[in-house]
């Protein structure tokens, strides 16, 4: 398997000479990172190039890196869109990560014209992470409620949300109101330093 991955990395390096921000091989998976400007062209080449042939787009997801490792991020490294591509012909996978330059209003080109399966997945990434996809034919919310405000998978969105819904006896209908429950955390999230728990670690 690893010889195959090496071949894939080699082809990627040759085809995208200079356009790759990084290429990493980790745990048997290849990840490449490109800039938002090159994204659409790189995606097109990945699909059409005879030696790559990623004819299937498995997954698109938005990631909010703002609290990653509990450390501060430099600007332009908050919202990433991660694509998982699969080539049936060559039987290999690739992960493509693109950061949106603007943290307050992340925008990225849409890949709907390349892979029709991107349509709903980009809608989902827009809905949950708030990344806009320019050129998307129908960028509506998909999973959250009609009239929902906010993007739940952003790290600054509380788990309990902002509004709750209940049946109001007097009004005789469902009403929205600010949440009344306090979010609580049973197990705190901890990032331990390297080597914690190993024998001899002080």
């Amino acid at each position: 398997m690893s010889a195959k991955l090496e071949r894939l990395s080699q082809i990627l390096r040759i085809v995208f000479d200079g356009r790759l921000h990084s290429l990493a091989e980790d745990r048997g998976e290849v990840t490449i990172e490109v800039s938002a400007e090159d994204y659409l062209e790189v995606a097109r080449t990945l699909r059409d190039h005879a030696e790559l042939r990623f004819e299937q787009l498995m997954d698109i997801c938005g990631v909010d890196y703002s609290t990653y490792g509990n450390a501060a991020r430099e600007p332009g490294r908050r919202f990433a869109t991660v694509l998982h591509l699969l080539s049936i012909e060559h039987n290999w996978r690739l992960r493509l990560r693109v950061f949106s330059a603007d943290d307050d209003f992340p925008v990225l080109d849409s890949v709907c014209e390349l892979w029709p399966s991107a349509n709903w997945q980009e809608r989902e990434a827009f809905d949950l992470c708030g990344i806009m996809y320019s050129g998307h034919p129908d960028l509506r919310r998909i999973l959250t409620d009609y009239g929902f405000v906010g993007h739940p998978l952003r790290k600054d969105f509380p788990v309990s949300g902002y509004t709750e819904m209940r049946y109001d006896d007097e009004a005789g209908r469902l009403v929205y109101q600010p949440v009344t429950i306090e979010p609580r955390e049973n197990t705190p999230r901890v990032v331990r330093e390297a080597g914690y728990g190993d024998a001899g670690h002080v």
């Binding site: 048997g28 998976e29 299937q56 990631v63 039987n91 709903w120 998978l153 197990t187 999230r189």
Partner: protein, 417 residues
């Protein structure tokens, strides 16, 4: 002359053929569907967000609640992802147990699908037969994990416990005579493996029965042949996987092409369709159940011969034995740490995909070294397949939409997450 306009029909969110909660806005020209716009999210529970707030181990039960027709398969993908991040080895016996239960789950999922698909189209009897067999498999789940529906049986590092040596039996009551009791307990005298073997001994016969009801049934064929045809090229572009892709004639199965667990050591065939319509996909699934039976038989043989541990021995990740917790200081510390803070997963990201009964189920996990996932992304096949609803339904009659819903094999826990 009066103005002619298209009729817009709201299908769902509560509809017996919607397989859960789907609101489908259909634009009709007479009886022909011009445009189908599925509105999903009625069952959105924010699983991905919730998993970020739980430790890696606490996240396992969420996976059961995704596709509640195929519970253990989703767990498998998640465990594979965590194991890949941690870099731990799963004992061979645990891998065989997982494969066996994956296939049992596949049979359960397909039974549900074929039963309800036929039921939606009007073949009432099918669902009664398939549920009879599903019931027996639920008993297998219950015997092994204590839960019929949401087992949380797979754990990072292996499975929760070994297969039990005895099956729970029906108890005498005033509703059952001695003779009846003996009859229903007949298969339950031995171990769980005996019970599973007995079931899969008679299961091919059940498949034959289903096929006599459906395969050559004229009404069934009229309702499914040539409905929802997907060309192989289009199926690839739409991101189809699993039986939806194989129905279009592409022999792509992760169990073969990118084998995980012990699938590379097992002998089975991949059924492939020809025309890419509802009928071919039905035939594929029917054959897949027979192939699953083959796999399960091989697993039973292996499991009988090879006793051994079923969970990794690394107590930084897996809980130590109860005796060690009681009698050994180190065991106590491991147990306490594991169930309070949880284990830490090294920084990194992985994508683990398995061949779920419905297609490719992938878990993309990002860890920043904490005791909780930084981000979990669940790639479910149902979501992608439902996105093709518009394309499949265009130009078909409204009654065919129901057939399409069935063939897409969507489960809303999976679609809405």
């Amino acid at each position: 002359m009066s103005e002619i306009r298209n009729y817009t029909l709201n299908f769902g969110p509560q509809h017996p053929a919607a397989h859960g909660v789907l609101r489908l806005v259909l634009e009709l020209d007479g009886e022909v569907v011009e445009r189908a716009d599925p509105h999903i999210g009625m069952l959105h529970r924010g699983t991905e967000k919730l998993m970020e707030t739980r430790t890696w181990l606490q996240a396992v039960p969420f996976l059961d609640r995704l596709d509640y027709m195929a519970m253990m398969c989703s767990e498998h993908a998640y465990c594979l992802a965590v194991e890949k991040l941690l870099g731990i080895e799963v004992p061979e016996r645990a891998q065989y147990i997982r494969v066996m239960f994956d296939e049992i789950t596949r049979v359960m999922s397909h039974l549900m699908l074929i039963g309800s698909h036929a039921f939606d189209i009007g073949a009432m009897t099918m669902i009664l037969y398939t549920f009879r067999e599903r019931e027996a498999l639920f008993d297998v789940y219950e015997a092994v994990s204590g839960a019929r529906m949401h087992p949380a049986y797979y754990r990072p590092g292996g499975v929760y416990r070994d297969l039990p040596d005895s099956m729970p039996k029906y108890k005498p009551s005033r509703f059952k005579s001695e003779k009846q009791l003996k009859e229903i307990n007949a298969a339950r005298e031995g171990s769980l493996l005996d019970y599973i073997e007995d079931f899969f001994e008679r299961f091919p016969k059940c498949c034959d029965d289903y096929e006599t009801l459906l395969t050559e049934n004229r009404i069934w064929k009229q309702r499914t042949v040539g409905i929802g045809v997907m060309s192989p090229e289009r199926a690839l572009a739409m991101g189809f996987t699993g039986p939806m892709l194989r129905g279009s004639g592409i022999a792509w199965d992760l169990r073969r092409k990118q084998p995980y667990a012990v699938y590379d050591r097992l002998d089975f065939d991949i059924p492939v369709g020809k025309n890419g319509d509802c009928y071919d996909r039905y035939l594929c699934r029917m054959e897949e159940m027979r192939q699953s039976t083959r796999i399960i038989r091989q697993c039973i043989d292996w499991l009988r011969k090879n006793p051994g541990p079923v969970i990794a021995d690394d107590h930084k990740v897996t809980p130590p034995k109860r005796e060690r917790v009681r009698g050994d200081m180190e065991g106590l510390i491991h147990h306490f740490k594991l169930f309070s803070e949880g284990f830490h997963v090294p920084e990194g990201e992985v994508y683990a995909a398995i061949e779920h009964p419905k297609g490719e189920f992938g878990v993309y996990a990002i860890s920043d070294g904490a005791n909780k996932p930084y981000r979990i992304r669940l790639r479910s096949a149902g979501f992608i397949h439902l996105a093709a609803m518009d394309e499949l339904a265009r130009g078909h009659m409204i009654a065919d939409v129901v057939a399409l819903m069935g063939t897409l094999d969507v489960v809303f826990g999976d679609v809405d997450r």
